[in-house]
Every structure is written in structure tokens, then in C-alpha cells.
């Protein structure tokens, strides 16, 4: 691969990895607290819609962001109530949330904007603008590092940097604070937390709400950072890929960064090359497009082995049968 291509793919990788990363960290909080979440997709989708809709109406991307985050957190709350308060099946609740998001976004979009399932295109202050990092122009002449800094790292919207910063932040919260200790404990053995006098439900609710918040950022980035408006089903399976990345990352923040970059890279490659020539035969376009999905399966089957999820994950906490 020649150098400009590499730079270009790296740049695209970061853009595509960001929604995955935010969603993956969202899942990390929730699942570390023992609440499995296959509803990442749905939460991203509502966030994408509400951020685009409010940004379109008010002309302010920040108001849009707020609305998107609020919507994702509202959906997170449904999941929390179903799976924590009423001890429902977490997988089923997640599936329901995905459907609910898919239906509601279109319904409301049609009701508000009457443009099919679309919001009006966002322009100007209703979108996140790229940020040129300081010194990018000066450095761009330096060989190797220069283009990397100027073209790959610099020039993304603020949410990309927020996503990258969320990694160390998550690590710090999880492993260096009281809240993190309790959060990890409640995902491993809720009874231990309960007998220590801490409310299991409160902890899990906060974890699930943090998950909603991060999903909100991910969805808003899709609609107001990457694209300029909402379209039906625009998350296109990213929530599920994020989930696979989370498993691949063994529920650890830094690994999550690595695995999301990998998946972003796969998507970038599949965008960049419409067919891939392997010498012996050529991978046809349909399969290059499906490459991220195929590799997800390969990675889950081949490299992760039996990733050990948080021990109490998926099980509602019941102390009195």
C-alpha cells in the first residue's frame, strides 16, 4: 500500500471507528455492571434522529447534541427499568429497544418534517465542523509524522476527540475511582455489593445511564458529524459491530480502542477497494462490503476464544426468590 493511501485509510479509519468506539465504551459501562445490552444500535439511532432533528430546527448543533443524548438516555432508562427493576430478560429488552428505535424515528421524522424518514439537511452551525489541531499546517511538511498528524489526527470534529479521550477517562473511572470499583464489583458479584450496604440497583442504573450518554454521543456523531442529517436506519448495524468489538476487547477500555480501530479499519478498507485481489482469486464486491461482518465472525471464532464476560452479566439480581 502506498503512503498516501495509507494516510487516507488511516484518516477514514478514525472517522469510522469513532461511533464504534463511543458505542463500545457505552456497552462497556453497562456490561461491566452486569447488564448486557444489545440495544446499543437502537440508542444510537434515536440519538442520531433527535440530534439531527433538533439541530435542524434550532440551527444549533449543541442543542442537537443535547437532545440526542437525552433521547438515548431515555431509551437506556427503559432498558434499565425492564432489566433491573422488573428483572426482565436483558437480551429481549435490547431487541425491543432496537425495534422501537427503528420504528419511532421514522414515525416522528415523518410527523415533524414530512420528508419521508429524513430530517432536512443540516448546514452551517447545525453541524459539527472539523477542528484543525494546532500546528497541523506547520507540521504537515515533516515526513511521515507530519502527514500523519495533519491529515490523520487533525481535522476531525470535536466528537472524535471526545471519543478518543473517553478511553483514558473510562479507564480512570473504572480502575481508579470508588465508583469504578463498585461498578466492577456489581458486575462480578452483586451480592457482595449489596452486603456492603451499596444499592445494586442504583449502581446499575447509573451504569446504564452512562451507557445511554455515550450512545447518544455516538448517534449524534453519525448524524451531525459524519453525515448532515438523519436517514432511516442510518446506524446500519454499527451497534452490533460495537458489541463484537467489546467482546473482542474483553471488556477493557484500551483494548476497546484497539478493536474499534480494527473494525473501523476494516470498514475503511472495504470502502476503499471495491474488490480485493488476492492473487489466486478476487473477492467480489458483495463480499468486500460484507467484510466487516465476516471478519467479526472470524475474530469472534478464532481469536477471542472464550472471552469471560463479567460473571454476573445477563442475570438480574434477585436476592429473594
Amino acid at each position: 500500500m502506498i503512503f498516501p493511501d495509507a494516510i487516507q485509510i488511516a484518516d477514514s479509519t478514525i472517522r469510522l471507528a469513532t461511533p464504534l468506539l463511543l458505542a463500545c465504551l457505552a456497552g462497556l459501562f453497562s456490561e461491566r455492571s452486569g447488564v448486557f445490552d444489545i440495544g446499543l444500535e437502537g440508542k444510537m439511532l434515536v440519538a442520531a434522529f433527535f440530534s439531527a432533528a433538533v439541530a435542524a430546527v434550532t440551527g444549533s448543533v449543541w442543542l442537537g447534541l443535547g437532545a440526542g443524548v437525552a433521547a438515548a438516555m431515555a431509551f437506556a432508562l427503559i432498558h434499565a427499568v425492564a432489566s433491573i427493576t422488573f428483572r426482565g430478560d436483558q437480551l429481549i429488552s435490547g431487541v425491543a429497544i432496537n425495534f422501537l428505535a427503528a420504528g419511532m424515528t421514522v414515525l416522528i421524522a415523518q410527523d415533524w418534517f414530512e420528508q419521508g424518514s429524513r430530517t432536512p439537511a443540516l448546514t452551517g452551525a447545525a453541524r459539527f465542523a472539523p477542528i484543525r489541531l494546532p500546528g497541523a499546517d506547520a507540521l504537515s511538511e515533516v515526513p511521515l509524522i507530519g502527514p500523519f498528524y495533519a491529515d490523520v489526527l487533525s481535522g476531525h470534529t470535536i466528537l472524535v476527540y471526545a471519543g478518543l479521550l473517553a478511553v483514558p477517562a473510562t479507564w480512570y473511572i473504572l480502575f481508579r475511582t470508588r465508583f469504578g470499583l463498585r461498578l466492577r464489583a456489581v458486575g462480578e458479584n452483586p451480592a457482595a455489593v449489596d452486603t456492603a450496604g451499596i444499592s445494586v440497583a442504583r449502581l446499575r442504573f447509573s451504569a446504564v445511564l452512562i451507557c445511554g450518554l455515550l450512545c447518544g454521543l455516538a448517534g449524534a456523531y453519525l448524524a451531525t458529524g459524519l453525515a448532515a442529517g438523519f436517514t432511516k436506519d442510518m446506524t446500519a448495524g454499527r451497534g452490533f459491530i460495537a458489541l463484537a468489538a467489546l467482546i473482542f476487547a474483553k471488556w477493557r477500555p484500551w483494548y476497546a480502542l484497539g478493536s474499534c480501530l480494527l473494525f473501523g479499519f476494516l470498514q475503511a478498507v472495504s470502502n476503499r477497494y471495491s474488490t480485493i485481489d488476492l492473487g489466486l482469486f478476487e473477492i467480489p464486491n458483495a463480499f468486500v462490503l460484507a467484510l466487516p461482518y465476516i471478519l467479526t465472525v472470524v475474530i469472534l471464532a478464532g481469536f477471542v476464544g472464550r472471552a469471560v464476560p463479567p460473571r454476573a452479566g445477563g442475570e438480574p439480581y434477585v436476592k429473594e426468590r
Binding site: F175, R176, T177, R178, F179, G180, L181, R182, R184, A185, E188, N189, A191, A192, V193, D194, T195, A196, G197, I198, S199, R311, K319, E320, R321
Partner: protein, 528 residues
Amino acid sequence: MSAPAIELRGISKSFGPVRANRDISITVRPGTIHGIIGENGAGKSTLMSILYGFYTADAGEIRIHGNRAEIPDSQAAIRAGIGMVFQHFKLVQNFTVLENIVLGAEGGRFLSTSLEKARRLLKRLSDEYELHVNPDARIEDLGVGMQQRVEILKALYRQADILILDEPTGVLTPSEADHLFRILQGLKREGKTVILITHKLREIMDVTDTVSVMRRGEMTATVDTASTSAPELAELMVGRKVLLRVDKAPARPGDKVLEVDDLRVVDGAGVERLRGVSLSVRRGEILGLAGVAGNGQSDLLEVLGGMRAGTGRVTVNGTALALSGSGSDARTRRRRGIGHVPEDRQREGLVMDFHAWENVGFGYHNDRRYARGLLMDNAALRADAAAKIAKFDIRPADPWQTARNFSGGNQQKIVIARELEREPDLLLVGQPTRGVDIGAIEFIHEQIVALRDQGKAILLVSVELDEIMALSDRIAVMFDGRIMGERLPAETDERELGLLMAGIADTGRDHPVGEVEANLAGTAGKRE
């Protein structure tokens, strides 16, 4: 006299249809060790969990040092100076000792400062009470004895003044238990109050000042230990006179049925659970396998029962068993005449949501007598179930009840009925009477002995030394995946078995306790 440390008045608690505690009142004097005894399911743990705020009572009131206390959650109990070591430890397995101890009592938002403070305090505490543990060890790498110390340290770290221990000795060797009791005496000297739950009468007689007896959810009596006796307590516990011996004729061992040679098992985490076990069982003989839980007995039963793979050589009636790959499954084992009463009936022995009649065929559902062409002959299975229910006096006598709806003892009877009725050449039995009341224990013991007298070979695993001593014709002791030694019941005693269980093979000498503990600390034994 000062106000009672604890006073419970009229406590009641139901779990759905089960009334675990009924109108219980009890008074505990400060600075004493107060014992609570009762059969399994009598409601002891429930009562203590209410005191600790883990459950909330349906009715009743709690007074601490004379003041009425509301204990809606464990935080309130901790504030009131109560600490509890649960029967099933509440530790986070992949956290370090230190992390477990500070959990919920961190004292600050950021961990590093809390952990440092805790480390210093922990050192002081462990020196003071001889509770030495490595603060940076992970719980999953510690033996159960060590885990229990962590639980005690947790309570002391929270400055508990009343300490509740729920069946602390069930998983300890006799010498570990002795060490625990010395610690409790130390706490008592400091003026702390201790509530000790156990169903071992000897422990009650040795260490408590007063004792309360529970039966079927009710408090039957509270007496000064000095003024009572073990038989009297036993009678209070079960409500009638109990036979503490099993009547059995001397064994007449025949040919070897089971021969195990150099059996090894490695678990999923790569830890070697069996490190070269060799033993044999003859027909007409019960071999009892003693040991502290987690030393490999369970793994041995699982390999022999076809539930997990191992390496080595095992023969039954002279022909070798496949230990891994095809033909090593439980179904093939059954065809080879091996019956298996598993250690955990609810997890393994029964499908809890199946009807009793479905469970009666569990594991034998491929039998030709339950088949009708391609389909299963449910009618035949139901008829068989009805017969077994009658013969083993399983109550309620309703084959349509789901297994979940039988009491523990009756669930066990279903399993026993199923496995014993097949008249297997070799019967593997794990913890046959765990959680079963004394009446049912007698019945189950009789059935096992009767099977032996038919000339079958029986391998019995139990953590209850009393049960091993009473039933076995030969006793082998396991420690850390190995057989430490074999003894005849008549030629040994609990003290010697206890040393073997602690990993001390040379029982001729008296060992300083410190060395025993050093050994135990290395045990990878776990408790679920």
C-alpha cells in the same frame, strides 16, 4: 446488667409461600458468644440476614443496645456496628483482598488513597487478631479458609462490634476451625458480641455461652450452654430423639469393581485439580472420601461420572473407561453400570422445571423401556415414577409436581430413588445428605447400606466427617488433588483425619498449627 447487645422481637419473614421465620424473639447479651443451631432450612440464615439488613422482615422489631433500630439495608446494619460473615461468602472473585475489604467503605472518591489507608489498617488488624492474609492476593487464588478470614477482616475493618458468623466451620478442617474459635474468644475478650450459627453440636458445646435452637422457622428454646447437653440440643432441634449412629453389618468386600490409577484432571483455567489419584473400590464395600471442599473430590466424581475429561487409567469390572473424547460421556457411563448421585441435586441431578415423572427418567431417558418407536413412552415413565414415589415415600406423592416444588429432602429422594433403583455395579455418591433433615438422612443412609449389602461397590464423597465415619468401610482422605492416606474407621479418629485433610501425611507427630496453615494457604480450594 447492661442492655442486651441485640434484641429481636416477633420477627417474621416469608419467601412467597415459604414461611422462613415465624414470630421469632431472641436476646443476646453483650460480650458473649451466642450460638444458634437448627436443621437445614430452619431459618437461621434468614434471621441473621434480616438482622444484617440483607432481607427486610415482614413483621417484628430489632433493638440494638437497648435502642430500637431500623435496618432497611446493610449500610444501616454496618452503621449500627453489625458485621456478618455469610454462609456463602460475598466476595468478588477477581478482586484482590484489599479491594474486597474496602468495597463499600472506601472513605473517598479516589481509590489510591482509600487503598493505602486500608492497607495500613489491615496490617494492624491482622497482627492484632492473627488473621494473616496477603492483601494483594486475588480471592480466586485463595483457599476457603483464607477467604473466610477476608470476610472477618471485612467486618472488623468496618469496626463491627457485633459479629455474625453463618456456619463458618462447614468448609474448615478441624484445626482451622480451632484457630477460628481462638479468634472468636479474642474478640469476646475485647467486649465484642459474636453470634455463631452452626449445626455441629460439639462446636456449640465448646465455644458458646448461650445457645438458641430453631426448628421449622420457629425459635424453640434459648438456654445457657453450661446447663445443657448435646443430646438435649439434638432433641430440641429435630423435635424427637435421634439416633446418631448408622446400624450396619460388617462389610464383606469382594472383587475390585473400580480401579483408578494416576488420574489427572486439569480445569478450564489450566489448574491441575487432580494430581495423580489412585484408588480402588470392591463390591460390597463403601469407600468414603473425606476432605475439605474443593480439594478434588468433586472433580473425581465428575470424571468418573462422565461429566468432565481427565487422563490416566480407570477400569470398571476390569474393562477400561474412556476418559476423554467419545464414549467418555455420562450416558456411556450409565450403560457401563455406574450410577451417580451428584453433589448438587438442584444444579445437576434434577431439571428443576421438569415434572417429577420426567426427572425420574433423567439420564436414563434413552432406555428401551421408556421408548415407543421413535417417541418416548411417557406413560411408562409416569408409571415408573409413581412406583418410586410410593417406595421412597416422596412427598407430595404427585408425579405432576415440578422438581422445584419439592423440599430439599424430597428432591434428594427423587435422585436417590432414580439412581439406586437401577442397581448399578458402582454407585458414585456426593454429599448425599446435604441440606436434608435428620429423618431423611436416616432413610438415605439405610438405602446406601442396603445397596452395599447387595454386593455393589460404593464411592462416597462427603464433607461431613460424621457421615464418612458412620457409613464408610474404608476412608481415604483427599488434599490438594491427591489421596493423602487411607484409614479404617475403627483405627482412626477425627483428629487424625483432620490432619490428613489439612495435607499433613505424617500424622504420627503433633504439628504446630502454623505449619498446617501455611499448607492451607497454598490450597487452591474454592467454594462456590
